[in-house]
Amino acid sequence: MSQPTTEFWRWQEYHRIMPNKKWTKKDLITAGVDVGSVGSKAAIMVNGEAYSWGITRTGSNSPESAKKALDYALQDTGLRVNDLKYIVGTGYGRVNVPMANKAITEIACHAKGANYIWGPSVRTVLDVGGQDIKAIRIDETGRVVSFLMNDKCAAGTGRGMEVFADLLKIPIEEIGEISLRVDKEPEPVSCTCVAFAKTEAMGLLRKGWSKEKVLAAYTRAMAVRMANLINRVGLEKEVVITGGQSKNIGIVTRIEVILGVKTLPMPKWRENGLDPMVAGALGAASFAKSLYEKAQRG
C-alpha cells in the first residue's frame, strides 16, 4: 500500500470580501493584479477603498494565473470584469497580465500598498516574496525614496520556506511558530542558497538536531539576510513587512531582534482584515484609481 502524500508546502488559497462594504454602478471600481513568482494576488477597490481580494498559487502560465486571481477576487461580489474602470498589473509577471490597462513595477505598488494598509507613518517596507526580497524606503505619501532587491535566486524567501516545510514535514503555516520553540537560538546555517541550505539541514538532522533547531537555524539565516538589506537602504521607523513571509512569526520576531526595532506595528489586517500579502495588488488598484481619474481630467 502506498503512503498518502501530504504537501506540507501548500498554503491556503482564499478570497475575501470586506464586510459592510457595498458598490453601486456610480462608484469608481478599479483593480490591481499582482502576479508573483509563487502567489498571484488580485484586489478590487471601490472609490480607492479596499473591497475584495483573492490569493491563488501562480501556475506555469502568467496570463492564466492573473485571470484566476482576478476571477477569485470578483467571486461573489456581483461585479464583472467589465465593471472595472481601470486595471493595473504588477509583480514578476506584470507584462503578462492581459486585461491590464497598465503595468507598474512591484516596487512602486508595494510602497503604495504599505502606505494604504498601515498609513503615512511607514518609512521602511520589507517585501519578502516567493523568490526575492525587496527593501524599500518610502515617504509619507507612499512614494519610493530608495530601494534594493536581493540579487540571487530563492535565497531567504518564501519558496525557500516551502522547501523547508517539505523537508521537515511541517505545514507551512506552522513553520514560524515551531522555529521559535528553541531554548537557545542556534548558529544560522551558513548557506542561504536553498539548494545548499537543504543539504546542510539534512546534515544537521543526521547529527541529531531537532526539527525546531534546524528550522531556527534556517530562519535565523534568512532574517540576518533581510536585516542586511534593510540596513543598506537605511532603517527608519515605522518598519513593516509585506508579502507571504509577513505571516511567518519566526521571521518577523527575529528581524525585530536583529534590527532592534522594538515594535513592528501590528499589521492592521488583524483588526480590519487587510492582508499584507495583497499589499502589491492594493497598491496597484490604488494607482489604477489615480490613473483613471488623471485620464478623465485629460
Binding site: 525614496v145 530608495s146 530601494f147 540579487d151 543598506r232 489615480s290 488623471k294
Partner: protein
Amino acid sequence: MITHYGYCDGSGEYYIIIDSDKCNGCGKCVQVCPQKALQLETEFIDLEDKTIAAVAEAHRKKIKYTCSACKPETNKTPCILVCEFKAISSVWNPR
C-alpha cells in the same frame, strides 16, 4: 528614487546605485558600459512615466560577474564617469 542593484554575500557587498531624480535618460552610460549591462527603462514615478537608466533585467541577478571587471575601480567606472549629473554611484565593501 534611488535604486540599488547588486549583491551581498560572503565575499562582501557591491551595489550600483542609480538616482532617478538626477537621471535624465540621456543614455550615455548605456553606450559606455563594456558589459552592456545598462539599458533605458520606463519607470512609473509620481503618476508619470519617466525614462531612466537601469541595470537590464538579465543582469540583475548576476552583477557579481557582469561588473567584476570594473568593480575594483569604485566610482571610476565608465558608467559613473560619463554621467554629468552624477546619477550613478557604486559601493564596494569586500570582506
